[in-house]
Assembly symmetry: C2
Homo-oligomer: 621 residues x 2
């Protein structure tokens, strides 16, 4: 199959899935009766149930298993917090405007579309031109505002809707802005991620954990991104649910006590080197990836392994899941290492979970901005003798020399790093005075030897104080769910072969409804049995759908297969019932009073269908 | 105890509870290191767990038990939706500004504070003045903007912080406003309630439910309210979690098939009549309240009963819970009946759940604004002959008479209700012409007999089309949780009597952590047993806290009692352990390999502590 055919096949498949999803209300375009809002979607009843199941499993798999500290912070966030985190200045996309109508476009999207279309549809392109356009596509994410603007001009790209000319690109901040309180004086934003709520609480959480490292905090909640022009349907939205973990760890010891539990796992990884040298993702044992230094440290490796387990247990196809390492130019300057869990779907490989070692960046940033020290301590078994830099400004001399500016000069002297201080000391000893730059005064002053004493002294220290590193697995829940839909979807012929029926092969863990209850024929006795089974299912907390219409059993199966319901209970006697499994269509006979506990067993994962299959008599209809 | 002492006692109690809650991180003032934002709070780890438990129980008790259709809609909402719902125009509080500094205050708060302070602290008030101030307090919520302004002027009330004079009151919209997309052209708001997301989806949900009534949709999610000046700590916040149910029902049949299941429940109710005549809330059987017409209909009564069960099962004290009916002036004009579940806490009686019969208002409003019919149908068994009003404007005559205004006149004629139309017909027949008001033209025109034909005709109808009524139970989750904290809190003397220890008596259902695991003394064997118990607890999904420090058992108990942990497992041998219940302090001995399943049993509610107490040998320490 060539690329164009493959693209067509993918699109046709996506169309089929989306059609089933929308018709069965897995999702609904938000505010549809008002013609909707781009990038906003509702979860309808089955979608909402899938989401609740995914989140419950996330809590079990991460929060409970690892004793994480879960918190729940508001979406409305004051500007100061997002200024410190860098979002106010840097959470932007480059935008161009139609110079006549003012319509807005993402600059990189327009350039990308232009290059792709040229490559696909213009057979007269020279070889050099082809190479050039391919190069532009490869480096698209790295282009500066000026470079993007120049390319748009060079290629004569115009506004897609009007063919009007376009403005130069300029950054548009992607946060939804609002105002907190009535005065209009206090700017706020809808948070672009949940992580900041955890960082600002580090001190309290560290204390709650008995002042011990490592520990992890977690948060599930809404995040917002005011996209310039949302594309890719359910994958690129303006409001979404994130589940984030911030694992705080000693930067000198990133080992993980439970690493052995995942170290033997083998799955598709795509290290930086392999990407650069044009190779494919390959299966690597995570323990080896860590020991060979492909993955920076054990804790990062542990989370990669746990994320692999989480996604595959949900039903993500392990052959269409890979962990791709960020290239050097993709990674924030402070990050030590970063891997994305990417899932392949009809849109290509989609980043669904980011697992980053963010070093001490975030805690540093909030310490600087707030003045509250976000640090950890390690008590030494015995006090240690350490050489410490001691800077003693001689205030009398400084006061005479600098008068009102004395305070700023003193602060600048005290804030010198060791290297700078020792150089100053050497200069003063040699030349008796030295030039010294005071940032807060924005000028260079002359410091004399009698104005400051600089020395190194041996001191006893009882503990080490340091800023922890943060390892952050961040889950885009909506994207995971969308990929899960695609990986779970298949079609099969109806019994009489004249129709293709849709099925979602959700594992019971994820399925929005765990079972259906159908009386085989409409009669009071069967209906009563069905209702009593329904009550016992509710009592054990199993969601079900009861259908007492006279529709044929085949049609009722088809309807619920399309909702991904794994088990169907057909009431065909007053003492026992038939239980049918969705994918195999195998059937067993179970006593009426045992069926609820059986459903509980197979949906809680205590037993699998093959486990129960040989315990009960099979049934052929 | 007089009122002042009682107020003092309440405040001291609240102080104690808040202190424990904040110290143990049940809540954290949001963005605390930046000195916080009024009205925003985080749930810290135990608070977050309590919230997750309350929401899980809500899903079980309402969504699952009633087969409700749960949806999940975005917080960002376009203006048109909230314009239709009335929030853009009417979701306001009256505000006054300090005329010099611009500081903002809620007008009613200032007047309330003034009256209260006068009444409490001014002993020289005349009897008439006392009566007047008390009257102002009683009617505070009904005062118009002008009346509030007049009172503020009359009493010479100034800005509390500066004593500057105040502006006239004016409405301030309480929604957080933002802009959707990059152009700035599309106004959006953070939703003030989750209900609108359900209403706009009525058509799809009705279809999903097989075009059958009644059915209920539900939603849990964040809602926002940009308070002018938040007070009352955790009760009056700017962002909060709502859990809302919209139960759609035929307005001609508001019976409920499961009403019998709650009809015998008896609890405190406070009907409108009793409030007006100065009586107290009294215990009423809900079945009788419905049959006597105190509660408008069975469905409303059913939900009142279910809410009672929900709250008391969570641990709300039934003697401090009442259902108060809205007075006529409190209720929206369209509402048929409305009851608040009010819980008494140190702030007084607090509205935590509103249960309203909103009639067809919301669906009508969105039908009008969107042009999409949000209606239901009832098929008749046999076609019915019905008399239908037929209005036929004679366009030729109307065109001659009204020219360019013809369209508006035609629309006004066609939109007449039956009564108005028949009156017009009678007038035209008698006087040959009639005055007729056309709102869209803002004037009265003269209609002649030859311009319109009005008649009643017999038609065959196959189905009835109607707009369903909505019965809406709406839960303020944060308020319920706060009241639960107060109702669960008590203190008791430590063993040696020199200290008062805090305890939260959360039922296992709600408790943030279900049990603790303590080795009695620090030794490897006990620690290993403790860790193996921990693993088995995780496997069955029970949250626990393990404490292997050498702290005394008494201290470890005290710490976890203050977190409301119901059970403590002390490892004091390698084969069996001691299990202690928090409130009774009773202890039993349980085999190591049975303790996890026992914990599961008592926390899932399969057994209670008294159930298990006699099954196991007791233990005295």
């Amino acid at each position: 199959m060539d690329a164009a055919q493959e693209a067509q096949r993918r699109e046709a498949f996506r169309h089929l899935v989306l059609n089933a999803l929308e018709r069965r209300l897995f999702f609904i375009p938000s505010f549809k009766i008002y013609r909707g809002v781009a990038g906003l979607y509702d979860y309808g009843p089955p979608g909402c149930a899938v989401k609740a199941n995914v989140l419950a499993f996330w809590r079990q798999h991460f929060v409970l298993e690892e004793n994480m500290l879960e918190v729940d912070c508001p979406c409305v966030t004051p500007e100061v917090v997002l200024k410190a985190s860098g979002h106010v200045d840097k959470f932007t996309d480059l935008m161009v405007k139609d110079e006549k109508t003012g319509a807005c476009y993402r600059a990189d999207h327009l350039l990308k579309d232009y290059c792709k279309e040229k490559l696909e549809k213009d057979p007269r392109l020279s070889e050099e031109k082809v190479a050039e356009l391919k190069h532009v596509l490869a480096v698209l994410d790295d282009l500066s505002s000026e470079e993007l603007g120049a390319k748009i001009k060079e290629y004569g790209i115009t506004a897609p809707d009007t063919k009007n000319s376009l403005s130069d690109p300029y950054p548009f901040n992607l946060m939804f802005q609002t105002s907190i309180g009535p005065s209009g004086a206090s700017t706020g934003y809808m948070r672009p991620e949940t992580a900041q709520g955890i960082f600002v609480n580090f001190k309290d959480l560290y204390y709650y954990n008995g002042n011990k490292l490592p520990f992890a905090a977690a948060q599930i909640g809404q995040a917002f991104r005011n996209e310039i022009s949302p594309r890719q349907g359910l994958l690129r939205v303006r409001e979404f649910t994130l589940a984030e973990i911030e694992h705080f760890v000693d930067p000198d010891d990133k080992s993980h006590p439970k690493f052995a539990e995942v170290s033997k796992l083998e799955f598709l990884m795509f290290p930086r080197e392999d990407q650069v040298s044009g190779r494919q993702a390959r299966r690597i044992v995570i323990g080896e990836a860590v020991s060979q230094g492909i993955v920076n440290n054990e804790t990062l490796g542990y989370f990669i392994g746990r994320v692999y387990l989480f996604l595959t247990l949900l039903g993500i196809d392990k052959d269409r899941l890979r962990f791709r390492q960020h290239l050097a130019n993709e990674m924030a300057h402070y990050a030590a290492d970063c891997w994305d869990a990417e899932i392949e779907c009809s849109y290509g490989w989609i980043e669904c979970v980011g697992i980053a070692d963010r070093s001490a960046y975030d805690l540093h940033a909030h310490t600087d901005k707030s003045g509250v020290e976000l640090v950890a301590h390690e008590k030494y078994a015995e006090p240690k003798e350490v050489e410490k830099l001691v800077i003693t400004p001689i205030k009398k001399e400084l006061g005479l020399a600098f008068k009102g500016n004395q305070k700023m000069v003193v602060e600048a002297l005290l804030s010198m790093e060791e290297k700078e201080a020792m150089e100053l000391k050497a200069t003063l000893e040699e030349k008796l005075e030295a030039e010294f730059s005071v940032c807060t005064l924005d000028k260079v002053v002359t410091i004399k030897k009698n104005m400051v004493s600089i020395s190194k002294e041996i001191k006893k220290e009882h503990q080490r104080t340091f800023t922890p590193s943060v390892i952050e697995p961040s889950f885009g829940i909506g994207r995971i769910i969308y990929c899960l839909y695609e990986h779970s979807f298949y079609t099969r012929a109806s019994k009489d072969g004249d129709e293709l029926l849709n099925v979602f092969r959700f594992p019971p863990l994820v399925a929005p409804i765990k079972c259906t209850v159908f009386p085989l024929v409409q009669n009071q006795q069967y209906e009563d049995v069905a209702k009593s089974i329904a009550r016992s299912l509710t009592a054990v907390g199993i969601s079900y759908k009861i259908d007492i219409t006279g529709t044929s059993i085949g049609k009722r199966y088809a309807r619920t297969d399309e909702l991904g319901v794994p088990f169907a209970i057909t009431v065909d006697s007053t003492t026992s019932v038939t239980v049918r499994e969705r994918d195999s269509k195998q059937q067993i006979r179970v006593d009426v009073d045992k069926v609820a506990s059986l459903m509980k067993e197979v949906t809680d994962g205590v037993s699998t269908w093959p486990d129960v299959l040989w315990k009960y008599p099979t049934h052929s209809s």
